[in-house]
């Protein structure tokens, strides 16, 4: 254990080793599973129609994730602005809503949206209910991201723009939001990773055709449970790993004072800690104005 080893520079050879060992792990896992189960259970994956089937599931997963993200940004933007700049009882309501939603497991929200609305006579399909529930939860998270983004803009800029005669909406529109949005992009990308993983939770209401449900109906037919889950995990990985690399690259490009961290969300934390080798980012939780 040498002190010099504390700072491992990432060289191309090391990257190669990392990739190699990742491949090694994958091979070990696959060998392990085939050791416990016969190789014929991998055979269904050689049929081309299997992949058109799984691609359909991937498309649905991406559709659900992206739709929920767009809805969350649209709802989260006003929530974040209200929480950052509002005074009085309405602000308390917004804070209460955001904090309660973020303290709730997403699976519980999905169940309540699906069965609750069904009791009220509104019958949503499993997919729609899941998208609505994901948007409810993630709009609260996006609200926090927006608040942290607005809070990270130097107060002097707002004061300068106000004293130059711009109204509050104009200040927001032309000074604060353009900068805040660009600082928020890494956080939004890593929220998309969370969303794509969370589309799998739609299984609980049934009747969906996203990737996990697709896989489940696949192994019910072929009886290759473990193999299918390995393939599902690899498919999710193939979507999310590039996204997490992108998010980290976007984050690492920014100077430290422009990095946001949203508390309580594991993927947000992961981006923030991984982006800066050697330092934990400052916790920007949106300063009060």
């Amino acid at each position: 254990m040498s002190i010099a080893a504390l700072r491992l520079p990432i060289t191309s050879t090391q990257r190669a080793r990392i990739l190699l060992s990742a491949a090694f792990v994958a091979v070990v896992v696959i060998l392990f599973a085939t050791g416990t189960l016969p190789a014929r259970r991998w055979e269904p994956f050689l049929v081309p129609t299997t992949w058109t089937f799984f691609l359909g599931g991937m498309r649905e997963t991406l559709y659900m994730g992206v739709t929920a993200l767009v809805a969350s940004v649209l709802i989260g933007l006003p929530l974040g602005i209200l929480r950052a700049d509002l005074r009085g009882p309405l602000r308390i309501l917004v804070v209460l809503w955001v904090e309660l939603v973020r303290a709730t497991p997403i699976l519980a929200i999905i169940l309540i949206v699906f069965f609750g609305l069904a009791r009220a006579g509104i019958n949503l399909s499993g997919t729609t209910a899941a998208i609505v529930a994901l948007a409810v939860y993630n709009s609260a998270v996006l609200g926090e991201i927006v608040r942290a983004g607005i809070g990270s803009i130097a107060r002097g800029e707002v004061e300068a723009s106000r004293s130059l005669g711009l109204s509050y909406p104009q200040t927001m529109r032309y000074v604060v939001l353009p900068q805040a949005l660009s600082r928020m992009t890494p956080a939004i990308v890593s929220q998309l990773i969370t969303l794509i993983k969370d589309t799998s939770l739609a299984f609980i209401v049934g009747g969906t055709v996203e990737l996990v449900s697709t896989g489940r109906s696949f192994f019910v037919y072929y009886g290759n449970v473990m193999e299918t889950y390995i393939v599902l995990a690899l498919l999710f990985f193939s979507i999310n790993y590039p996204l997490s690399r992108l998010s980290r690259r976007l984050e690492a490009r920014r100077p430290a004072e422009q990095r946001l961290i949203v508390t309580g969300e594991e993927d947000q934390l992961a981006t923030a800690t991984a982006a800066i080798p050697g330092a934990m980012p400052r916790q920007v939780t949106g300063t009060e104005r």
Binding site: I3, A22, F24, A108, F115, N240, G264, Q283
Partner: protein, 220 residues
């Protein structure tokens, strides 16, 4: 406010007690496992040499970028009597899978906590005559702990919420308990009780974490 049917909930209080206990088990045991695993993998990533650190990276990236639900399903089958024969208890499987999932996030936090201490401080400590262990214990640890505590608090909030996903493998935690009671009595209020029970864990935890964040906020 609509009339709340509390009677069916009281009659099935035992189900909720089991659910709450299992959620606590998944939270505490799962998080403890994640801390042990995360510390171990983080030390591999920092001091383990190219191969072991590469293995650590592969673990972190794989578990972080795949859904917890898929991991739970996989381990439920893998550990079942038909395969490895470790256990068929869904709560135990849940605790193991949650440890592995959360452990990936803990690894990243602990690693960046260790790397946040300037290596020149350790060199200085060594040249002042402290042993390797002493310089880690008295120079690195006190600083790394300060950096690491607030994000670990945040991870544990996310972990408690993630325990609900263990209901996917039929572990009777709070949400599954609510579903059981709702099916049995048709009282939708069961889900509201589940919310309150989850909040009783996550909201105090969130308060604690925001206090710790303020306490440990410092300029480096």
């Amino acid at each position: 406010m609509p009339n709340l049917a509390l009677q069916p909930l009281l009659e099935n209080a035992d189900v909720f007690v089991v659910g709450f206990r299992n959620t606590l088990f998944l939270s505490v045991v799962g998080m403890a496992g994640a801390l042990v695993l995360g510390t171990f993998v983080a030390s591999l990533r920092v001091w383990g040499g190219p191969f072991l650190s590469g293995l650590g990276t592969a673990y972190v990236e794989f578990f972080r970028n795949t859904p917890l639900l898929v991991q739970l399903f996989f381990f439920a089958v893998l550990l079942a009597p038909a395969n490895l024969g470790v256990t068929r208890d869904p709560v135990l499987v849940g605790a193991i899978a949650l440890s592995l999932y959360t452990g990936a996030y803990v690894t990243e936090v602990i690693r960046s906590g260790v790397l946040s201490v300037d290596p020149r401080q350790l060199e200085a400590a060594r040249s002042l005559g402290l042993s390797q262990v002493q310089s880690l214990r008295y120079v690195m640890l006190p600083q790394a702990i300060r950096t690491v505590i607030p994000p670990l608090g945040n991870i544990s909030i996310a972990h408690v919420k993630n325990t609900a996903i263990a209901s996917g493998i039929a572990a009777v935690e709070i949400l599954k308990a609510a579903s059981i009671v709702e099916t049995r009595t048709a009282a939708f209020e069961a889900f509201y009780l589940a919310l309150v029970l989850f909040w009783s864990l996550t909201i105090p935890l969130a308060f604690l974490v925001s206090r710790l964040e303020r306490r440990f906020a410092f300029a480096r």
